[in-house]
C-alpha cells in the first residue's frame, strides 16, 4: 500500500520505506493492561458506590416528601375537623338561643293574654 506522490523522486520513496520500518508498533509496557484493568475495576466500584448514594438520596428524599405531605394532609384534616366541631358548637348555641327565645316569646304572649283578661 505505497503512497506515491506524482512528483516524488525515487529517494523520497526510499525515505518513506525507512520511515515505515522505523515506525513499527512498539510493545506496550507490561503493566499497562494491569493498570487499565485496575482503574476499570476501581471506577466500576466507585460507580456502584455513587449509584448506591443516589438511590439512598432518592429514598431519603421520597421519605421526607412523604412525611411532609403526610403532615400537611394531617394538618388539613385536623383543621377541617376543628372547623366542623366549631360549626357544630355554633349550631348548638344557635339552637339553644332559639329555644330560649321561643320560651321567652311564649311567656310574653301568656303574660299579655293574662293582662288583657284582667
Amino acid at each position: 500500500m505505497d503512497f506515491e506522490w506524482p512528483d516524488q523522486p525515487e529517494e523520497f520513496n526510499e525515505f518513506e520505506r525507512e520511515l515505515k520500518q522505523a515506525m513499527e508498533r512498539r510493545p506496550a509496557p507490561p503493566g499497562l493492561k494491569r493498570g487499565i484493568m485496575q482503574k476499570r475495576s476501581a471506577r466500576s466500584t466507585e460507580r456502584h458506590h455513587t449509584t448506591m448514594i443516589w438511590w439512598q438520596r432518592l429514598a431519603a428524599s421520597l421519605l421526607i416528601a412523604g412525611v411532609i405531605a403526610g403532615g400537611f394532609g394531617w394538618r388539613q384534616m385536623e383543621e377541617r375537623r376543628r372547623g366542623e366541631e366549631a360549626k357544630q358548637q355554633v349550631l348548638t348555641a344557635l339552637r339553644i338561643t332559639n329555644q330560649v327565645l321561643n320560651n321567652m316569646n311564649r311567656k310574653l304572649v301568656e303574660h299579655d293574654r293574662s293582662d288583657n283578661g284582667k
Binding site: 503512497f3 529517494e11 523520497f12 525515505f15 525507512e18 515505515k20 512498539r26 484493568m37 482503574k39
Partner: protein, 172 residues
Amino acid sequence: MAQKWQPDFEKLVDEHQSMVFSLAWRMTGDRGLAEEVAQDVFLELDRHMARIESPEHALNWLRRVAVSRSADALRRRRVRGVDLWVEIEEKHGSPSEERQSPLETRLEQLLSTLPEAQRAALVLRYQEDMTPEEIAVTVEAPLATVKSNLHRGLKLLRAKATTNLKEYIRGL
C-alpha cells in the same frame, strides 16, 4: 439475521494496547504520558462499549481517540508550562530506550518536532499503514488537508533528517 458482535473489553485491550500506546508515544514523545493517555483511551472505550459495533469500529475508534487524547495531553502540558521538548530530549536519551535502534530514536525525536497535525498524519500513515482517505476519516479533516499535512510533514521530516541522520538513512 447475523448475531450482534459482543465486544470483550479485555480482549480489545490485549489486541490494541500496543497500537494505542505506540500512537500516544509518537504523538506525545513521552513514554510516561503515552502510558497515561493509553489508559485513559481504554477507560473511555469501556464507557463507550455499548456503542461499538464491530472489531473494525473498535480499531478506528481507538485510533481516533488515541490521536485526539494525545493532542489534548500535549495541550494541557503546554498550558501547565512544561518544557516538553527538553523533557523529550531527556527521555529519549534515557537508558530505558537503549533497545531501540539509534535511527528509530532519532527519527522519533525529529518527528516530535513537527507540527501536531503533520505528526498525526505521518504516524497514522507509517505506523498504522493507513491511506490518506482513512486518515481523513480518523482525524475528521478534509482529504486535501490530510494530503497536504502528509506531504509537508514528510518534506519537513526529510529535511530535518538530511541534516541529522545522513549516516543512517539510505534515501537521503
